[in-house]
Symmetry: C2
Subunit: 187 residues, 2 copies
């Protein structure tokens, strides 16, 4: 029961190893989530389709920034991506200093805020993507995907990275909580 | 402050008092979130408006379950409300047993899942509510709120309880994490 940073880890090398392993997993998951959110932001942010016909007055074009939910999606994914990059040094610090507890609690707080923001952004976009595919007869909103196929494929695909990052954030919060609870019980 | 509870709390009565106070706050916040999600589910689930005119073939009527995102919203709010009610005994247990750490970590895990689910459901509905108010010219989706005013007021209002519960869940996760980290450092 007298663990103190790396040097005393001889007493409980197994438990220390487990926590260090989870800390490394935390770091790797953050990197994956960075790729996911960055990919989503870029995929959505570069989506535009011009149909191969136009009338004299109207050019048939669909762009992601025609729709507010998609603009919000790009912003939210960029912000969360930036936050995750910013959290990497802290995650590395936790691999080295496995006894850190205050900073783990801080990360849980920040991660849960980002989880709320990212889940919101991803779902708002998903609701509109669903509408673009299916339309809604009672509200008289027509499915636009029949016209803009490439556009719809891109915006649908761009949701994947974002929802993957949501799942990873739930996992990151849970892992941090598990480590806090293990450390309390074991050391 | 002479908290009795577990025998060891005599050593650090002040810190014990703080943790017990936060545990009680956790319990109260859960109750508020139950009211919020229940209110949202009921408000959305009972929303329907029939316009005071009809043609021979069409009855002008708007119902929440015409729109998938609103059906999902009602289900998600009901599920989270049920979960929160289910978590109350655990929260009460934490007020009594302030040393509990495994169950706090479990609550953080479950709370973060529910946070993801609730934020998703609330935002998907919010995206559609926004569309109902503003419409979207490029996609040729018209604002339906000009016709269905009462319907739109109800669905807009029903979002409030849900988003309040999202904020409360972020707070609950953060409080649990803070308690885990405090307990580790102090006991």
């Amino acid at each position: 029961m007298k663990e103190e940073g790396p040097s005393e880890s001889r007493e409980m090398p197994k438990k220390t190893g487990v926590i260090r392993g989870i800390s490394i997993l935390d770091l790797v998951l953050r990197m994956v989530a960075i790729v996911g959110t960055l990919g989503s932001a870029v995929a959505m942010g570069t989506t535009a389709e011009t149909l191969p016909f136009s009338t004299q007055t109207v050019l048939f074009q669909a762009q992601y920034n025609d729709i507010s939910a998609f603009r919000v999606f790009v912003i939210v994914n960029s912000v969360v991506c930036g936050y995750l990059a910013f959290s990497l040094p802290m995650s590395i610090y936790h691999v080295i200093r496995i006894k850190a507890s205050k900073s783990r609690a801080l990360l849980i707080f920040l991660d849960s805020m980002m989880l709320g923001v990212l889940a919101s952004g991803a779902s708002a976009a998903a609701a509109i993507v669903y509408l673009a595919h299916k339309g809604n007869a009672p509200a008289n909103w027509s499915a636009i995907c029949q016209q803009y196929q490439t556009f719809c494929e891109r915006i649908t695909g761009s949701l994947i990275g974002s929802f993957a990052a949501v799942l990873i954030l739930v996992l990151l919060i849970s892992l941090s909580a598990a480590m806090l609870s293990m450390r309390h019980r074991r050391f």
